[in-house]
């Protein structure tokens, strides 16, 4: 799999991913439309087919799962980060979004092509291959199913 890099910094919080004023709905398209609005109003238009490449503590703050849903609905292929805040990490897994934690981070700029392999636990940018921490079998099972909802629907 591959996508176009959207480069973000450290400590991106879930209020920045989707602001509190858009939470009170069950219409997922609202979250995709307003994703990252307070960080950069033009960012949401670049999310389709993107791989987000963030720094440390990606997705910190509020437990709002709308943050993960917003990224999925907007067409984000995967999220790479130097480290993740744990609730966002679980939410993204539960929504079937492939995650890559690369200790030490990646050298990457906006628009770079990012190749990823969940099975191989690696990320490749500009010919440089970075090793990602391997997800647990349980997390892989959830992502493979497309998320926890799909898994439960199958009665697992």
């Amino acid at each position: 799999m591959k996508g176009t890099a959207v480069r973000l910094g450290d400590d991106i919080n879930t209020d920045q991913i989707i602001a509190g004023r858009y939470l009170r709905t069950t219409d997922k398209s609202v979250w995709a439309e307003h994703a990252f609005e307070d960080l950069d109003p033009n960012l949401s238009s670049r999310l389709k087919g993107s791989v987000i490449v963030a720094g440390k503590n990606m997705g910190c703050g509020s437990s709002r799962e709308q943050a993960a849903v917003a990224l999925k609905e907007a067409g984000v292929v995967a999220v790479v980060a130097e480290s993740f805040a744990r609730i966002f990490f679980r939410n993204a897994v539960n929504r079937g979004i492939p995650l890559f934690e690369v200790p030490g981070g990646c050298t990457c700029s906006d628009g770079d092509e990012v190749r990823i392999s969940l099975e191989g636990s690696w990320v490749e940018i500009n010919g440089e291959r970075y090793r990602a921490l391997r997800l647990s079998d349980k997390m892989m099972e959830i992502i493979d199913a497309g998320g926890i909802i799909e898994l439960r629907r199958k009665g697992i």
């Binding site: 009170r24 440390k56 437990s63 799962e65």
Partner: protein, 402 residues
Amino acid sequence: MSTLSERILRGEAGSFVDVPVDRALSHDGTGVQALTAFREMGLSRIARPDRTSVVYDHIVPANNSVTADLQADLRRFAVSNGVHFCDIGEGICHQVMSEGVVIPGEVVVGADSHTCTMGAFGAFATGVGASDMASIWATGETWFKVPETINIRLEGKLPEYVEAKDIALRYVGLLGAGGATYKAIEFTGDNSLEMDDRLTISNMSVESGAKAGLFYADDVTCRYLRGHGRDAVPQKAEDCSYVREETIRLDDLEPLLAVPHKVDDVRPVSDFEGTPLDQVFVGTCTNGRYGDLKRFADIVKGKKVRVRTVVVPASRAVLLRAIETGVLRDIVESGAVVGNPGCGPCLGAHQGVLGEDEIGLSTANRNFKNRMGVGAKYYLSSPTTAAFSALKGEIASPEDFP
């Protein structure tokens, strides 16, 4: 020998465990999303309604018809499933849980990041998202990676006008916003912190990225819980290995602020004296308890606040006690506005959102950019600092009041 998290989760740090959830908590915000996920799973009945709580606190009473419709749907679902349901006005979910629902040693999972507050009782308490909550509704269980633990020893006695919030800000500044990610924090040490103090300290552990922030249950815990009709036994600490150890000398602390827009950008109040304020807010799951309101009231009593001030009690029990003791009268007479029990403006939805370029001082736990008002700035402080600042209309220290 094990850390408290290892003992409660019955596994070594680094291992994965499946655990029954003793208390599954959600609110009007995340509960709506959990219900959507639950229905998408093809389910309608909660496996363990006796261990499930739904507390309405985030936008209560509903602010518009969209919110009202979502709340009505979740209310019908919660009531028909026979869960522990608290409608508007009972209080903030974490405060309600602290008033005799959660006891030491339990596994508490909440669809809210500040579920870590219940670590104050020696429970393993952590936040998850909405579909994790739906999954717990389905099975009564969840999975965890057992965390490694950071030990923070709190030693000594706090100086006058310095309080639990200053301890919380101090350790969040020390660890950084991601400094405890994937880890638990155990707070130990020789100190005289009461339950309300511990709740404030555990509450902010997620601001350092921690999965949980625990105190060992002791006589203070048991006495508090007896007052809320629950029996509990103390937990003995064992020799165990920590990944990091820090000591905070309480005697050396001074009043602190988290300055815009990072929770871990922590500075002395004295460095920001004179910063003009447009609003002061006292409340939230961090600092909306009776003791917080009382300290605020004792300082503003008989005087007038010089900036618009919003005070929101954390629960109905807190509000009632504040009425009975006259604390509420002191607050209202000072010129402050009192809101109904709940989260108030903390998440930027209602009851005191700031305007563009306005500056607020809040006793909450997050000062993220735009959170409590687009284009606004927020400083975080203790209720005591909030009181002195409200009286001056600008950020102020106790020293400004001879």
